[in-house]
Every structure is written in structure tokens, then in C-alpha cells.
């Protein structure tokens, strides 16, 4: 009997150990996927139905070419704003009004790779008026108006290729910049690639921003040695008036850069005294060079974009701006060039470096005054590393890329290779906390974290690799961001959320700075579109040769006219549709069968035009695509196409025949 009990106990014990092992190994595999979140995380990110998020976050759409708008802390997607890519969902880049926005000196470009969103600033703090974003592939900068959440301006950058260190702005958005990631010949020309060192140059463009209208104007370009300019930041406070650009490939390689541009222990951060250069330009320095670039602007009153083609740019050589540009040696192939909220420290993110160098603006000024240089590159003095260094963060992690700051004197650096965020003390350069992120973080973002006044509550990790973070969707996965609570001493992961494109960078701002200015409608009486009609009585169809203009109105729940006849095969028909609504959230859509074009999505008070070519004779239905009202499904009409030589007269009507 005792033996039986003994045996049973042994069996039970073994069973317990076995199941315990299974449980433990289960925990183990769970642990590999990331730490269990803090128990209060759900309440920290939960935004009740009908309640609003604390922050707007403007996230780069990466290779979608667009910009997305998320709420923080919920991670909810509110809108994708089309910027550099066509968007059939609302007709951007398809309508006659918006096609000019995507015009460049290279023609109509339907796509780009957007990288860094940058909020406009006032006194070194984001002010919520505009957000800028760069197009990397066909170098451009766009400005989005945060009253309408629309792209209102795109300027092309000549002599540039791979507009990467862009559009970072100054403390009062006097400028946005565009440093070229590929050096290319200035006045692009046919030269052997092997003549890189002689013929290629790195252009850094300064685009002046009008303080009232926001209009951008290419002010001047600095023509520097053929390095690859990566990222940038303007100084602030004491360092206001300066820009800092990181660069790699100071080896000046033009092939197999992964090896050939990774040879030197130190590359550079280029410090530029832009206020001094402004004076030099005003004093007549520089050369006007021929080039071609587009400047496209969208007008809220005509609801139309126009393109201006510009033909010259002022360029300045290092000789022209002597005493205004200096290279700071920086280990190794630096990515971020980030300025802390006080404006005193410049942090280099040497992605192949084993330390994070922190430079002192005061020491830099002193070294410049003392002519304490170790040499020069094509006339640009090179400062001594030790003379400018404030200190190094030791053992930060592998592949430090980008740094932002909180409001308590801490810096947060993303480390791509070791897939983690490192928190360190700016004054002492000591690492105080670190946390893994999933996976391989690129940039990180703290609301206002590159400004004078960070709102240091959340940090968003913008990751490059997603793998198993979400339910799988075949080989092509969503992109991924992670929200981290940084209000305490220890960072806490509180949310994962998917993003569109590749979230290269983002910026965030307290919601009320933007929401209070958000437009609800366009005023019909202010609509000065040349094809707008403000009354159904003015609806009509006009023929001009083989071109037909339909002046149409949309209001719940009918289109006027909704019966159109007299169109012939081969006619090019322009539907100019005015949404007569003046009520909040009452857009109307428009689509016609077989259109080799997009739909229209017309906001209240707006006029949009879509082009349609009539091909085969027949009946072509059209309708409202945005569910607008109880009788939305009835909001439809017919267009009759007759043969080329038919004599059906142009006629149009709604309800009673006119």
C-alpha cells in the first residue's frame, strides 16, 4: 500500500516537473518575442470611443510616397495624405486640378519615396501650421497645410539626387533644406562615372519659407565635395543660425559603397553658418547657374494647382562662403546629426561606430575662433575631433542611428543592429536604460523631440523589419511602429501598430494645436475655380470641337445634369463637378464607366475635374461613389455616346427635360 502511494507520488512529481518544463519552455518562447507589457499598458493606450487622442503624428509613408496621420497613444490611422504619388481614392494626381502637382523637369512623375516629415516651427517649437516632407528619388520638398491636410506646394531641387538630408527646418522655419544623398554633376551632364572625384559634387540647397504664406523659394545651393549627405538638423537657442549635416562616403567611392564607403574611421558632420551665408548672398556672392526645376502650388480658392518652371539657381562654392562651413570629424558613416533642446550639444549617430559622439557647440565656436584645424577638404576647414567633442557615450549598442530628446535631460538613440533603444544622460553621457524593439529600428520620435520643447511622454520606434509582430499577410508584410512610455525612469513598451510604406520618420504635436484650425468645408462663395458653378441653374454641357465640358453640380442626392446626350466617339469630355454642399462631412464622389482615369472625391464647396474619353457608342452610367445620404444609391445618371458622324445634338437635363 505504502509502495503504491510512493509510486503514485513519483508519477505525480514527474508529471508536475514535465508540465512545469512545458510551461517554462512556453514562457521562454514568449519571452523571445518581446517582454510582457506592463499591466497598466492597456489603459495608457486606450482611447474611449468618441474621445480624442492626445497627439497627432505625421508619419512618413516611405515608398508609398505619401504621409499618414496617426493618433497617439492609440496608434489609430486617421488619414493618408497623398503627396508624391497619385491617389485614385480621391483623384490626387489624376484630376486636371492636381496633375500639375506631380510635374517635374523630368516629366510627370506618379510616385516618389517620401522620407522625413518636419513640422513648421515658431521659436524652436512646432506650431502646427504646416508639415514638410521630402521626396527622395526625384528630389523635391512638399508642404502640407494642416488646415486642410492637403499637399499645397511641391518644389523640385535641381543639381541634387536622392534628396535624403531634408527637409529639416530652422527655429522659425526660415528655411527647409535639401542635402543630396548622391553626389552628381552640377548641371547634370554626360561624364564617365569613373570621373566621380572631378565631376561630381554634393549640393546642399536652402529653400526659403515665407513666414506668412509658407511659400517656398530656392534661395541658394552650396556646392561641396562629392560626399553623400545623409541627415541634418538646424541649431537652436545658442546654435540658432547653424545647420549640421551628417555625411558618409567621404572616401568618394562610386561603386560597391557598402565596402568602399566604409573604410575611414571617421567621416564628417558639416557645420554651416547659414546666417553668415545669407549675408554673403545679400552682398552679392555666388554664381547664377542655369538649370530647370518645377515649383507647383495648389490654391485653395481656385482648387487648382499651377506649375512654374524656373531656370536659374544661385550656387556658392566653399571659396564663396569662406568662414561659414566647417567639417567636424565624426565616427563612422554617421546617420543622425541631432541637436539637443538646449542647442548646445550635437549628437552624431555613427551607424558603424562603437560610441556615440556628442559635440559641443561652445567648443566648436572656440575652435573656429582659434583656427584650430587639422586640415581642409576642398577649401572647407576640418576641425579637430577632440577640440569639438563634449564626450562619448560608451557601449551604446550596435549601429546607433538617430537620437531624440525628452524634457528631462535625456537622449534616446535608436540602434539598428542591436535592435534596441538606448536612453542616456546628455550631461554625463551615461547609459541609464535600454530596451529591445522589434525589429531593427530606424528613426525614433518623441513629440517635439528635436525641438526646444519636447513633450516627453511617448516615444515611437519606427522599425524596419516586422516579421512575426502581426498576423502574417504573405511575403509582403505591413510596416511596424511601437509606442513606448518614457514618462518614468524605465522605458515601457505599451503598443505595437502597423504603418503604411516604410515609416522612415515621423513628427508629433499636441492635438489641439492642429485640430482647432481644421477646416470643415470650403466656402462656396470663395470658390473661384474657372469651371465652378454655384447654382444648379448654371449646369450645362458645352462643346468646343471634339472637346466637351460638362459643368455639373452635386448635392444630396442628385447630379445636375444627370442625362447627357450628343457626345460622340472620340470626344474628350471634362466633367467639372462642384459640390454645392456647405455642410460638414458631405463629400460627393463621381465615377463614369470605363474611365481610364480615377474617380473624383469632391469636398463641400470644391470643384474638381476629371477627363474621360468617349470611345465606343453606347450608354455610360455615372454615379456618386461616396455614400452621401439615404438616397445615395439614386444619385446616378446616364451619358449617351453616339457615332462620330451622328447628328444627335448636345442636350442635358435633370428631372424635367430642359
Amino acid at each position: 500500500m505504502a509502495k503504491t502511494i510512493q509510486t503514485m507520488l513519483v508519477v505525480l512529481l514527474l508529471g508536475a516537473i514535465f508540465s512545469g518544463t512545458v510551461l517554462l519552455s512556453g514562457c521562454g518562447s514568449k519571452k523571445d518575442k518581446g517582454p510582457l507589457i506592463e499591466s497598466d499598458a492597456p489603459s495608457m493606450v486606450y482611447v474611449e470611443p468618441g474621445k480624442y487622442d492626445e497627439f497627432y503624428s505625421f508619419v512618413s509613408g516611405g515608398f508609398s510616397g505619401q504621409m499618414s496621420v496617426y493618433g497617439l497613444p492609440s496608434g489609430r490611422l486617421f488619414k493618408v495624405i497623398p503627396v508624391f504619388s497619385q491617389n485614385p481614392e480621391n483623384g490626387y494626381g489624376y484630376t486636371e486640378e492636381t496633375k500639375p502637382m506631380l510635374q517635374t523637369s523630368k516629366g510627370f512623375i506618379p510616385w516618389d519615396d517620401s522620407h522625413h516629415s518636419e513640422l513648421s516651427m515658431k521659436d524652436g517649437v512646432p506650431d502646427g501650421r504646416w508639415v514638410f516632407i521630402n521626396g527622395n528619388n526625384t528630389p523635391r520638398i512638399a508642404r502640407l497645410d494642416l488646415k486642410t491636410f492637403k499637399t499645397v506646394e511641391i518644389i523640385e531641387i535641381p543639381n541634387s539626387a536622392g534628396n535624403h538630408s531634408s527637409p529639416f527646418t530652422t527655429s522659425n522655419s526660415e528655411y527647409v533644406v535639401a542635402g543630396t544623398r548622391f553626389s552628381v554633376p552640377v548641371e547634370n551632364k554626360d561624364v564617365p562615372i569613373s570621373s566621380y572625384k572631378e565631376n561630381f559634387k554634393g549640393a546642399i540647397s536652402f529653400i526659403k519659407v515665407d513666414q506668412n504664406s509658407g511659400d517656398m523659394k530656392l534661395a541658394f545651393q552650396l556646392i561641396t565635395p562629392p560626399f553623400d549627405y545623409d541627415l541634418s538638423h538646424a541649431g537652436k537657442g545658442p546654435s540658432d543660425g547653424w545647420y549640421f549635416f551628417s555625411c558618409y562616403n567621404t572616401e568618394m567611392a562610386h561603386t560597391l559603397l557598402e565596402v568602399n564607403a566604409s573604410q575611414k574611421d571617421k567621416d564628417y558632420i558639416l557645420a554651416i553658418n547659414w546666417k553668415k551665408i545669407e549675408e554673403l548672398v545679400a552682398a552679392g556672392k555666388g554664381t547664377d547657374k542655369a538649370c530647370t526645376y518645377y515649383h507647383n502650388k495648389f490654391d485653395d480658392k481656385t482648387h487648382s494647382a499651377t506649375s512654374e518652371i524656373l531656370k536659374t539657381v544661385k550656387t556658392l562654392s566653399p571659396e564663396d562662403v569662406k568662414g561659414a562651413m566647417f567639417y567636424i570629424p565624426c565616427p563612422k558613416s554617421p546617420h543622425g546629426a541631432d541637436v539637443d533642446p538646449t542647442g548646445e550639444y550635437i549628437v552624431g549617430g555613427g551607424k558603424l561606430a562603437s560610441v556615440i559622439p556628442v559635440f559641443s557647440f561652445t567648443k566648436m565656436k572656440k575652435a573656429i575662433e582659434g583656427n584650430d584645424f587639422e586640415g581642409n577638404v576642398e577649401g572647407i576647414p576640418v576641425l579637430k575631433y577632440d577640440a569639438v567633442l563634449s564626450g562619448e557615450v560608451q557601449k551604446p549598442g550596435l549601429g546607433p542611428l538617430h537620437t531624440e530628446f525628452d524634457d528631462k535631460g535625456f537622449a534616446y538613440t535608436s540602434c539598428f543592429v542591436s535592435s534596441e533603444i538606448v536612453k542616456w544622460n546628455v550631461a554625463t553621457k551615461e547609459v541609464v536604460d535600454r530596451m529591445p524593439v522589434y525589429y531593427s529600428i530606424g528613426h525614433l520620435m518623441i513629440p517635439g523631440g528635436d525641438s526646444r520643447k519636447p513633450w516627453g511622454k511617448y516615444l515611437v520606434a519606427l522599425n524596419k523589419i516586422t516579421k512575426d509582430r502581426f498576423l502574417p499577410t504573405g511575403p509582403e508584410l505591413t510596416q511596424s511602429a511601437q509606442l513606448i512610455d518614457i514618462s518614468g525612469d524605465k522605458m515601457k513598451l505599451i503598443l505595437d501598430f502597423p504603418t503604411i510604406g516604410e515609416p522612415h520618420y515621423a513628427q508629433a504635436i499636441p492635438a489641439d494645436l492642429v485640430s482647432k484650425n481644421s477646416a470643415r468645408i470650403y466656402k462656396l462663395e470663395e470658390n473661384s475655380h474657372p469651371y465652378a458653378i454655384k447654382n444648379e441653374k448654371d449646369a450645362r454641357v458645352e462643346r468646343k470641337g471634339t472637346e466637351v465640358h460638362v459643368y455639373m453640380t452635386a448635392i444630396r442626392s442628385h447630379l445636375t445634369p444627370d442625362n447627357i446626350e450628343g457626345i460622340k466617339s472620340g470626344d474628350v469630355v471634362y466633367f467639372h463637378i462642384t459640390n454645392l454642399e456647405q455642410d460638414w462631412d458631405t463629400p460627393h464622389g463621381f465615377a463614369i464607366m470605363g474611365n481610364e482615369n480615377s474617380e473624383l472625391l469632391i469636398m463641400p464647396g470644391e470643384t474638381c475635374t476629371i477627363k474621360w474619353t468617349a470611345k465606343e457608342p453606347g450608354i455610360y452610367p455615372f454615379y456618386c461613389t461616396d455614400f452621401c445620404s439615404a438616397l445615395h444609391q439614386e444619385m446616378q445618371g446616364y451619358l449617351r455616346v453616339s457615332g462620330k458622324d451622328s447628328n444627335v445634338p448636345v442636350s442635358f437635363s435633370t428631372g424635367e427635360k430642359k
Binding site: R556, A630, L631
Partner: protein, 201 residues
């Protein structure tokens, strides 16, 4: 007979206060629906209608309600003159200081109030019942007459009909004019005494 001094001053104040009605909306109709969390409002002034009139008209066409066109509402043309007459008569009362004239003024005021209410009700009745038979949305037995005052559910909308600032002044002035007339009358004291005696008995 002559009026008391306090009565004359009070009539002056009321008459002057009525001038404000030219510059303030008299009545407000507020509509709320699930898809209109921000509400839709219509403010009736003595000479115009403001607010979300276009939106309300746009929605009303589904149920076949007539378009509200301020230009075709004759009351909006007449009311400024009627109000002017009321104010001028009030000032004449102050100058003349005669009790009989006060009585005329108060009766005129009261009649205007009643006529205004009746007219508004008929107007609402007409808009609420006189519907286009070709309307897209027809609910059997349903009419869309907003309440004279208070709230009422009309299909998906809750309609509120309430006096606006100008209306509050008008109503207040009307009540005040009645009180002045009673106060100015000698009978006021006697009536009170009689009531008191009655209560004691």
C-alpha cells in the same frame, strides 16, 4: 388720469430695451440627430433667418417640405415696422403719462404676442403638413411640424423650439408691461386688500 413716476420710468426702460430686439435673434429652432452631433440651428430675427438654413432646406427636400426662403416670408418685412410702432407707442406713453394710453399700449403688446404666436404656429403647421406628394421619404401619418415651444421628435431629428435672446427680451418686456399696468392701477392696492381680507375670513 396720470401715471405714477416709477411706471413712466419703467415704460421708458422697456421701450428702450425693445430696441435691442432689432439686433438680436428672436427665436431659435435647433435640430439634433445621430449623424448631426454638432446640431443644426436656425435663428429667426425680426427681419431675417440665419444659421444652417441651406443645410436644413437640403435635408427637408427629402420629406417634401417647402424650401424656407426668407425673402418670401412677409412677416419678416412687417415685423420691423410693428416693433417700431410698439416702441414709439411706448415712448408716447412715457411722454403723455396717461393711464389710458398705457392700457392701449399694453393691450397692443399683448395682442401682438398672441398674434405672433398664432402666426408662428400656422407657419410651422404649413411647413410641417403641406408636403410635396412626390417626396422621396414618406412616413404614413407623419407630419413634421416643429413644436411652438419645447421639443419634439421628428423622424431622426429632435427639434427644439426656444426663444432666443431677442425673444427673451420680448417676453420679459411683455410680462413687465402687464405688471406695470397692474401696479399703476389703483385697483392693485384694493384687490390686494380684498384678497387678504378674504383669506382672513
Amino acid at each position: 388720469m396720470n401715471m405714477k413716476k416709477t411706471s413712466r420710468i419703467s415704460v421708458l426702460i422697456i421701450s428702450l430695451a425693445l430696441i435691442a430686439v432689432y439686433f438680436l435673434p428672436v427665436w431659435e429652432i435647433e435640430l439634433e440627430a445621430p449623424q448631426y452631433p454638432e446640431g443644426l440651428g436656425m435663428n429667426i430675427w425680426i427681419n431675417k433667418i440665419t444659421g444652417d438654413l441651406n443645410t436644413i432646406n437640403g435635408l427637408n427636400h427629402y420629406i417634401g417640405m417647402k424650401t424656407i426662403q426668407p425673402d418670401s416670408i412677409k412677416e419678416l418685412t412687417l415685423m420691423p415696422y410693428i416693433l417700431g410702432a410698439l416702441i414709439l407707442l411706448g415712448i408716447s406713453v412715457v411722454i403723455a403719462g396717461r393711464k389710458k394710453l398705457l392700457l392701449v399700449w399694453v393691450i397692443f403688446f399683448m395682442m401682438l404676442g398672441i398674434a405672433g404666436g398664432v402666426d408662428f404656429y400656422l407657419w410651422e403647421y404649413d411647413y410641417g403638413h403641406n408636403l410635396n406628394p412626390e417626396a422621396a421619404i414618406k412616413i404614413p401619418g407623419m407630419s413634421y411640424q416643429p413644436p411652438l415651444i419645447g421639443s419634439k421628435q421628428l423622424a431622426n431629428f429632435t427639434a427644439y423650439s426656444i426663444p432666443d435672446t431677442g425673444g427673451i427680451i420680448l417676453i420679459g418686456a411683455g410680462i413687465a408691461s402687464l405688471v406695470i399696468m397692474l401696479y399703476d392701477s389703483r385697483k392693485w392696492g384694493r384687490t390686494k386688500k380684498r384678497l387678504i381680507n378674504k383669506n382672513i375670513n
